[in-house]
């Protein structure tokens, strides 16, 4: 049977403790050797009420609002409960009392003392005392007969005696225990117990078993034992219904038996094996509180059949849950209280909850008849009685027992299905609960707003992370603002309505250039602001009337729209507004939230139309916001950070589990911001809490993101995770460029590079694992350049089949791209017209908006195109690479190539003589040419180890005459640098003819020409030096073993220079002669490695006394080198 054991918690200082529940079970009362009695609302209560009763408390009992304690000054005292005021001394002993118990109706107490005496005292009149003498050693424990006839006591003299209370005579005694001289030496404190109700059985823990004796006859009925008990039992306690018995041992095991069947239904072990010295059943539910000799308090839940979740703590958990959102419960602080609530109907359940076996029914008329054999029937007994076991009192009282309740008569309809979850209250992202005296109203990437609300001061402190935004501000909080948001332009505050004042929105627009920086707006009557947020140039508030009201930063009221449900939270960023609201009622601890994401820019549109928000099971929302780059994110109470994946149809992807990084179970991370580039989750580690205190000032920590991919321990999984993470975290680039924001081109190219590198690594890994199909799949994700590289890699590692498939795929891709381009071209035409029409508007745009000019529009186009054909760039089909005005010169060739080439002229059939030029800048020219060569000469080289391409793909192009290509490239460079800030330029460019360009190219600077030349030289298949080097490589290597490729070339270079000019000429001649049939012969030779190419390039560059700046090629080259070097390293 499942029972939930909650972790133990500190209750008292080390030493003997005792525990009991109050009459209703609403709290746990413990006493300990620190002399305090503590009243716990529940186990998670961090602030129990303490009543000091003396130096040491040995035992406590609670009934009818009276708390009886046995303390070290040898007295038994009364305190009122729950106030804890002393209410007199009941009795005194010459030694301390070891155990005090109430009788069933709470009129009498019995106390057993170390001075061998047992006293029974009337609670209301302490003069009415009865003393029981007979024990020869300190009395260990006592138990009242529920019918108030007998009293059982156990003593260190080894006996257990049963006394008749009326005449204080010993009815019987058993020598059961080991003798000892003092309580502290006793093996067991032998807390015995009468069965509640009829009092038919007396349970006595004797060594490792519980002995049960029958009333009146006092004969031994049976033993309850369990194999898990290895040490003597210390305590027994009956369930209030009398069906179950629990015993705790000195080594910390706790066993629950069903007395009727004598089977143990529950076995648990104290987490630290301390001795259990106090056990108490909840008066209503299957819950056992226990304490140990080290002062810890623990709780077992769902004892019994466990079918009803409606135990006490569950209901308190539900309460906590409500309180959590109310924010007025300190339990929230300890963070553990966020148990999923059982349901708000628990309360209702209690009202007619007699269906629970473990509950003693309220007084039931039947009972009076059943108690036939006893004369001392009293009210108290009836009250506490249970009717379950009383039908046949003589023999088999254990058999009759089970719920003999007329259930249908007393029980109303009981709903047993899933229970609705209380809705979570609205909150401001990045705020701590409003009931705190010192709290964060908001902590975001702009700054911190703190609120101090104590006796002397009610104020708001605003602090900016970046002091250049605004200086720190201190505001009096006379209106009692509870909500706040902060942006780089304004501070937004809001308060709820009071009796006199309406709910107010208060904005401090500090970036305003006029003198009036503040404005306030009153909400209509009975409308309370529940959530607020700020965007760029606008503010929004959601109210209790299910409205979202938009304002400009200056306070002009703008759109209003209705929400489908009560708001949970809002967040704004730039032009985007995200609203999260309750779509409906969640069940079984889940929230049912919906999200709307809208763009409030010029083109207003809704991106997410109230889609369901995915939350972890039984969690609620804790943070909503945007990444610094503007991607919506949210965090739930289980610490899962999710981000909008715009690439996959606006779905949410979990990007981080903050709980994985927590050290302790109750530690949390409080998220304050998310950055996509660099990938940072900024949050504050909170030890043992969900949110940080204001003092000491918490420090921000940075967590990495991890997508929950499978098998991230393996290399493959790791790289897959990295690849997809890189993709996900660069979605914002597309989005931003689409919306006309500036995008850091370098970062983009970096990310593309990173992704392609990862793909290449994965490709190599799959190759190694002989997974060629997987290789092809991977290649499908690659860009054209990298596919070429992959083909090379495959052919090098002698996977001809793979290489062939890949090249087929490359061809396919190229043709796809070509058709895509055609379509785009047409689109572009339309788009331009459209833009021209709308262009006049942009002049009136606010300066706060990103400046939109044609350039950005173009960029937008680019981005759109990038979307569609990201991988399919740079095919030979491309007529001419469209110059990208944003690629910052030619610093990053990768960027230029990453953009799809746009055909400047719309004529399709025209042959483009500039094709080469566009390829020139391609960092992967050699590989591209490999493909060309391969396909062209496939028939001849089919026997070689090279990749074979039987198809003659459309990508093949003839070798282009050198001078022309030079000019073309120059032209393209010129284009790149042509300032075309106006649309006119765009159109002009479209009309440009090839001749014009060439003409312009004539005016091109020598620098560019040189670059072009250099590039063409790169393409030249062989130089004299190279041929020489190939011949002499072996000798160089034998002379200098251990040289790497570059060093070999260097060495070779120096040797080549030493040669006589004739010799060199001869080599050059040879090279020239070879060049004619180079392409054929080349196939049979080992191709120079990329490193050689590189070195050669460098060499050539060196030899040219040009003013060529390295800048023009470094970036592209480095990419090339890195990727290719990688690829060759693998082979």
């Amino acid at each position: 049977m499942p029972s939930a054991q909650k972790p133990m918690r500190y209750g008292h200082t080390e030493g003997h403790t005792d525990v009991c529940f109050d009459d209703t079970g609403s709290c746990i009362v413990t006493c300990g050797s620190d002399g305090d009695v503590r009243i716990w609302e529940n186990l998670d209560d961090d602030d129990p009420k303490s009543i000091n009763v003396g130096e040491k408390a040995y035992s406590c009992a609670l009934k009818n609002g009276r708390l009886i304690t046995a303390v070290s000054n040898n007295t038994v005292q009364i305190h009122t409960f729950p106030e804890g005021a002393p209410d007199g001394i009941l009795t005194r002993f010459t030694m301390n009392a070891n155990h005090v118990v109430f009788n069933s109706d709470g009129t009498k107490i019995a106390a057993g003392s170390s001075d061998f005496m047992v006293k029974v005292v009337e609670v209301t009149d302490s003069s009415k005392q009865k003393t029981f003498r007979g024990h020869d050693a300190p009395v260990l424990s006592l138990s009242f007969d529920p019918r108030d006839v007998y009293l059982a006591s156990a003593s260190c003299d080894g006996t257990v005696r049963v006394w008749k209370i009326a005449d204080q005579t010993c009815v019987t005694n058993w020598l059961l225990l080991q003798k000892c001289n003092d309580v502290i030496n006793a093996k067991s404190i032998c807390r015995l117990g009468w069965q509640p109700g009829s009092g038919k059985l007396l349970a006595i823990p004797v060594d490792k078993v519980v002995k049960l004796y029958r009333r009146e006859t006092w004969d031994h009925r049976f033993d309850l034992s369990d194999t898990s008990i290895a040490q003597p039992l210390n305590v027994v306690a009956w369930s209030p219904c009398g069906q179950y018995l629990v015993a705790g041992s000195v080594d910390g095991s706790i066993v629950v038996w069903k007395v009727e069947t004598q089977e143990s239904i529950e076995r648990t072990k104290h987490e630290k094996n301390y001795s259990i010295c106090g056990l108490a059943w909840h008066p209503k539910y299957g819950q056992i509180a226990y304490t140990d000799t080290e002062g810890n308090l623990g709780l077992l839940e769902d004892i019994g059949d466990g079918k009803k979740p409606n135990d006490k703590v569950a209901s308190t958990a539900a309460k906590d849950y409500n309180d959590l959102f109310d924010g007025d419960d300190d339990d929230y602080l300890n963070g553990d209280a966020i148990e999923p609530p059982s349901s708000p109907t628990t309360g209702a359940n209690e009202d007619h909850g007699d269906d629970d076996d473990l509950m003693p029914t309220a007084s039931h008329p039947r009972r009076a008849m059943l108690d036939d054999d006893d004369n001392s029937l009293d009210i108290g007994m009836i009250k506490a009685n249970c009717n379950l076991l009383e039908k046949d009192d003589d023999d088999d009282d254990q058999t009759g027992g089970f719920p003999a309740l007329p259930a249908s008569s007393t029980q109303q309809h009981f709903y047993d299905g899933p229970l609705p979850t209380p809705r979570q209250k609205p909150f401001q992202p990045g705020s701590t609960p409003a009931h705190l005296m010192h709290r964060f109203m908001v902590w975001n990437s702009v700054g911190i707003i703190r609120c101090y609300n104590d006796e002397q001061d009610n104020a708001i402190d605003i602090e900016f992370h970046d002091t250049s935004v605004h200086h720190a501000t201190h505001l009096p909080n006379s209106l009692n603002h509870t909500m706040a948001d902060l942006s780089t332009e304004a501070i937004l505050l809001a308060c709820e309505s009071t009796e006199e004042l309406a709910s107010k929105l208060h904005c401090i627009h500090f970036s305003s250039w006029d003198t009036n920086k503040e404005w306030t707006v009153d909400m209509p009557k009975d409308e309370d602001i529940e959530a607020i947020c700020l965007g760029q140039g606008w503010a929004a508030c959601a109210t209790s009337a299910l409205l979202v009201r938009l304002f400009t930063a200056g306070g002009v009221q703008k759109e209003i729209f209705s929400l489908p449900g009560p708001v949970v939270s809002m967040a704004g960023h730039g032009e985007q507004l995200m609203v999260i609201y309750h779509r409906g009622t969640g069940f079984d601890g889940d929230q049912c939230l919906g999200v709307q994401l809208m763009e409030l820019g010029k083109k207003k549109k809704q991106v997410l139309h109230g889609d369901p928000l995915s939350l972890t099971k039984k969690s609620y929302l804790t943070w909503v916001g945007f990444s610094a780059e503007g991607t919506p994110c949210y965090v739930d109470s289980e610490g899962i950070v999710r981000m909008l994946n715009r690439r996959l149809g606006n779905t949410w992807i979990p990007v981080c589990n903050t709980r994985e990084h927590c050290k302790g179970k109750s530690d949390h991370y409080w998220v304050v911001g998310i950055h996509e580039n660099p990938q940072q989750l900024r949050c504050i580690p909170c030890k043992g809490a969900r949110f940080p205190p204001t003092l000491p000032r918490p420090a921000v920590a940075i967590l990495p993101f991890t997508l929950p991919y499978c098998q991230v321990t393996t290399e493959k999984g790791q790289m897959e995770e990295q690849y997809w993470r890189s993709i996900v975290f660069h979605n914002h680039v597309d989005y931003l460029s689409k919306n006309g924001y500036e995008v850091d081109e370098n970062a983009t190219s970096q990310s593309v590079k990173e992704q392609q590198e990862l793909l290449m690594k994965l490709f190599a890994l799959s190759c190694k694992l002989e997974r060629e199909f997987r290789c092809v799949e991977l290649a499908d994700l690659m860009t054209q350049n990298v596919v070429n590289l992959a083909i090379k890699y495959a052919s090098r590692s002698r996977r001809l089949n793979l290489a062939q498939r890949l090249s087929e795929m490359a061809v396919e891709k190229a043709s796809e791209l070509a058709t895509a381009l055609e379509e785009e071209e047409e689109e572009e035409e339309d788009f331009r017209n459209h833009l021209n029409a709308g262009y006049s508007n942009s002049g009136t745009e606010r300066s706060r908006l990103p400046v939109r000019n044609v350039q950005q529009d173009e960029e937008m186009e680019d981005a759109e195109e990038t979307d569609e054909c990201e991988e399919a760039e740079e095919t030979p089909e491309v007529h001419k690479q469209r110059p990208n005005p944003f690629s910052k010169g030619v610093t990053s060739a990768e960027v230029t190539t990453a953009k799809p080439a746009v055909i400047a002229s719309s004529s399709q059939g025209r042959v483009n003589p500039f094709k080469v030029s566009s390829n020139k800048k391609d960092p992967l020219v050699p590989s591209a040419s490999v493909l060309d060569n391969m396909s062209k000469y496939s028939k001849k080289t089919s026997s070689s180890s090279r990749a074979v391409n039987k198809q003659n793909p459309p990508v093949i192009k003839p070798l282009i005459p050198k001078p022309k290509s030079k000019q073309a490239s120059a032209a393209s460079f010129f284009q790149t640098r042509t300032p075309n800030s106006s649309e006119k330029a765009v159109e002009e460019r479209q009309e440009k003819t090839v001749e014009e360009r060439q003409e312009k190219a004539g005016r091109e600077s020598p620098e560019v020409k040189v670059t072009a030349q250099d590039n063409t030289e790169n393409k030249r298949p062989k130089t004299g030096f190279q041929m020489w080097l190939e011949e002499n490589r072996a000798s160089i290597l034998t002379d200098n073993p251990g040289l790497n490729e570059a060093e070999v070339i260097k060495e070779g270079m120096s040797r080549f220079r030493v040669l006589s000019s004739e010799e060199r000429m001869a080599w050059t001649e040879k090279a020239k002669g070879r060049a004619v049939n180079d392409l054929t012969e080349d196939k049979k030779r080992k191709r120079p490695t990329a490193a050689e190419d590189e070195a050669k390039k460098n060499q050539e560059q060196k030899s040219e006394d040009s003013n060529l700046s390295k800048k023009t090629k470094t970036s592209g080259q480095s990419t090339n080198v890195r990727l290719s070097a990688f690829a060759f390293k693998q082979s």
Binding site: D466, T467, Q680, R682, A701
Partner: protein, 185 residues
């Protein structure tokens, strides 16, 4: 070495600050610093931290050891042991002085920390003097002192070596003096 020089060396130690400005990576001879993101902790050398702090451009995050409890533990340990105990930082004294002078508002319980570090320092100096004393008294040829920080060595180094020099001279002069003494008489 002057204390100022030791302090200069200590300024190379890294401390964490929370900048209140935004700046890209700074490339310096001694290595790159930054990037500085407002609100995000970053490690910088003490010299920069102090400079930024003076210009109110950052908030200082005290080093982990600059905490009353930890320092109390260190002090107690230092008092308990006869030898020198390892210090949390090789520049604990200099750092304490620098950071407490310039950023005491960012360090909780600054005064207590100052006292505790001073206590530890005093204990160590007492030990140092004591060991120097016994070293001289017993006329040892060498002694080994572990876990001394640069600043501590410099407080006694020059003086002790000079003193030993002098003593040596005196001693060597004493021998002939004794013999001459008999001559005098």
């Amino acid at each position: 070495m002057e204390p100022a020089e030791a302090e200069f060396l200590a300024e190379k130690e890294l401390v964490t600050i929370v900048p209140s400005f935004s700046m890209d990576r700074v490339h310096l001879i001694g290595g790159d610093l930054g990037p500085f993101n407002p609100g995000l902790p970053v490690e910088v050398p003490v010299w920069l931290a102090v400079n930024l702090k003076q210009r109110q451009k950052c908030r200082l995050v005290p080093p982990a050891w600059m905490d009353v409890e930890k320092l109390e533990e260190i002090r107690d340990q230092e008092r308990k042991e006869d030898t020198f105990t390892p210090m949390p930082s090789p520049y604990y004294m200099e750092l304490t002085k620098l950071l407490l002078n310039y950023a005491s508002d960012n360090i909780p319980k600054a005064d207590e920390i100052r006292t505790l570090v001073k206590d530890t320092w005093d204990t160590r100096m007492a030990k140092l003097r004591l060991s120097a004393d016994s070293f001289v008294r017993q006329q040892e040829a060498h002694a080994k002192l572990d876990n001394l920080t640069l600043m501590e060595i410099n407080t006694i180094g020059t003086f002790l070596t000079q003193a030993l020099d002098h003593m040596y001279k005196l001693r060597t002069n004493l021998q002939p003096a004794e013999s001459s003494q008999s001559q005098d008489f």
